[in-house]
């Protein structure tokens, strides 16, 4: 009886473990099938690299949206990565215990706030700030609804995740390793830079990838502040139109336009593949770093 139970438990758990993997395959396959109506007729190069988005004329170039996604994500990470890593270093290495204890739940709370709250806050504060302060400073004209506003809001949304994971990475570095460096007469900063950061490099990379994945797919908050103009942005102050916003804004509407929904499915497929690509890339980097030894 007990061996039978054991075998059953193993099967059941194996099955549940296989489920997520199967889901990824199913989602990609589903998106692919539903987008075939457009992928089959339009050459892939035109779909991906044409910037003409005129659904009524049957032109479905996704380039503006891909570019919008890349711009907003890159801006967000350029802002979020340094800030969150420095904050994590401060919290883990320098801050007194009570600050660390107080900061952690606050950081986690930020990670849990609904996206739409960030969006509203972005419209009220970040958009005017970009339009009235930053853009004139840079000598550009902008309504404020821009790649930069999207990037700032997104950066604020991703950094709790990055801080959280990075803190855990630092906590995993043994104290005696820090002491080894300190005992040689290294300062705290030298120890942090050469030992803690190096030892934690892989984990920080993993944290960044988590941030990346979130940033790529984040929809609501970005959609509210980014302007949603289907053109390739040429500066931080231009409006952009990321893929998730495109899908969320249009799905279910204008379905009478031929092949429109297939084009949106193609957009979702592209988004999924971008995220998958970065995850795989990061995993490979991690594995290689591990092999190289730390």
């Amino acid at each position: 009886m007990r061996p039978l139970k054991d075998a059953l438990a193993r099967r059941a758990m194996g099955l549940t473990a296989a489920l997520p993997a199967a889901l990824v395959v199913l989602i990609v396959a589903g998106l692919f099938l539903r987008s075939r109506a457009i992928v089959a007729v339009e050459p892939l190069s035109k779909l991906l690299f044409s910037s003409a988005w005129q659904p009524l004329q049957g032109k479905f170039g996704l380039l503006p949206f891909i570019a919008g996604t890349v711009w907003v994500t890159a801006t967000a990470l350029a802002l979020a990565l340094p800030v969150s890593i420095l904050a994590a270093i401060y919290l883990s290495e320098y801050a007194p215990g009570w600050v660390r204890k107080a900061a952690k739940p606050v950081v986690d709370l930020l990670a849990g706030l609904p996206s739409v709250v960030y969006g509203v806050w972005g419209v009220i504060l970040v958009v005017p700030f970009v339009g009235n302060v930053l853009a004139p400073l840079a000598g550009a004209a902008s309504s404020g609804y821009s790649v930069l506003a999207g990037g700032i809001v997104l950066a604020i949304m991703t950094f709790p995740t990055i801080i959280h994971v990075t803190l855990e990475v630092f906590a995993a570095v043994p104290r005696s390793l820090r002491e080894a460096s300190l005992s040689l007469g290294a300062t705290k900063w030298e120890t942090t830079r050469h030992v803690v950061l190096r030892k934690g490099a892989q984990g920080i990379l993993a944290a960044s990838v988590l941030g990346f994945s979130r940033a790529f797919g984040e929809t609501m908050a970005v959609l509210m502040v980014v302007g949603n103009v289907p053109a390739v942005p040429r500066s931080l102050f231009d409006a952009g139109y990321p893929l998730p916003a495109l899908i969320a804004n249009n799905y279910g509407e204008m379905m009478s336009v031929p092949r429109y929904d297939a084009a949106l499915m193609a957009a979702a497929l592209v988004l999924t593949l971008i995220v998958l690509f970065f995850n795989v890339l990061a995993r490979r980097t991690l594995v290689r770093a591990e092999r190289r030894g730390r």
Binding site: L177, L182, E190
Partner: protein, 254 residues
């Protein structure tokens, strides 16, 4: 350093972790160019005493120190003392070897680099010199670029020794430096320490009495945070004055 004066003098040192007193009024002279061994049951404050000598205790939170530690006559707990300079005078071997996440070469070059040595030639020279002194050179000379983590644990501990020596300290501190090593590696490290006492002052913490007998010139017995007895190792082993020391040496407390 004045002739005949102990390079490290501990005066009335008390250490508290929060409300818990770990060291009680410890006074101890550590003689130059000898191996001083601090023995005592686990939890008696040995490691705390050792780490108070190079102010590694500062790194932990909620630690209070009262009393003095004089290194070359300088009170290292005085407010104006530069802690990096104090630590540079001492190399530390920890319980488990802690190699830095870099190559074998970089591990040894790390300290000298921090202290401003830049020239490749000088660095190469130091790395070779101290790897030889730690008895590791012949095993690693062809693989200096490999990550230090690829070495065996015994080799790692000798690498840590070389790394500590490379900042050219006067004192070597060992916190149960052989506790993670197999017997041959332990012997190897003990042999190194015996050789090094020609040029360095060595302080080792251990709970292995046989090890203390093998290497100690000077012995200090710590019990429940109190320094019970100290003196030349031969004398203490032959005729402990305090009943607690006698009990510990005969194995009644451990």
């Amino acid at each position: 350093m004045a002739n005949g004066e102990a390079p490290i003098r501990v005066r009335n040192l008390s250490v508290f972790y929060g409300g818990l007193q770990v060291l009680r009024d410890v006074s101890l002279d550590i003689p130059a160019k000898r191996i001083t061994v601090i023995v005592g049951p686990s939890g008696c404050g040995k490691t705390t005493l050792l780490k108070s000598l190079n102010r590694l205790l500062d790194a932990a939170e909620g630690v209070r120190v009262r009393g003095q530690v004089l290194v070359d006559g300088e009170d290292i707990y005085a407010p104006r003392t530069e802690v990096t300079r104090v630590r540079k005078k001492m190399g530390l071997l920890s319980q488990k070897p802690q190699v830095l996440p870099m190559s074998i070469y970089e591990n040894v070059a790390y300290g000298p680099r921090i202290h401003g040595l830049r020239s490749r030639k000088d660095l190469d020279g130091r790395v070779e010199r101290y790897l030889r002194l730690a008895g590791l050179w012949d095993e690693v000379r062809d693989r200096l670029r490999e990550p230090a983590s690829a070495l065996s644990v015994g080799q790692q501990q000798r690498l840590c020794l070389a790394r500590g020596l490379a900042v050219e300290p006067e004192i070597i501190l060992g916190d149960e430096p052989t506790s993670a090593l197999d017997p041959p590696s332990s012997q190897n490290v003990e042999r190194r320490l015996m050789e090094l006492k020609r040029d360095y002052t060595v302080v080792v913490v251990t709970h292995i009495l046989r090890q203390a007998r093998r290497i100690a010139d000077h012995l200090a017995f710590l019990f429940l945070g109190e320094l019970v007895e100290q003196g030349p190792a031969a004398e203490v082993f032959a005729g402990p004055r305090d009943p607690r020391t006698r009990a510990y040496l005969s194995g009644e407390i451990s």
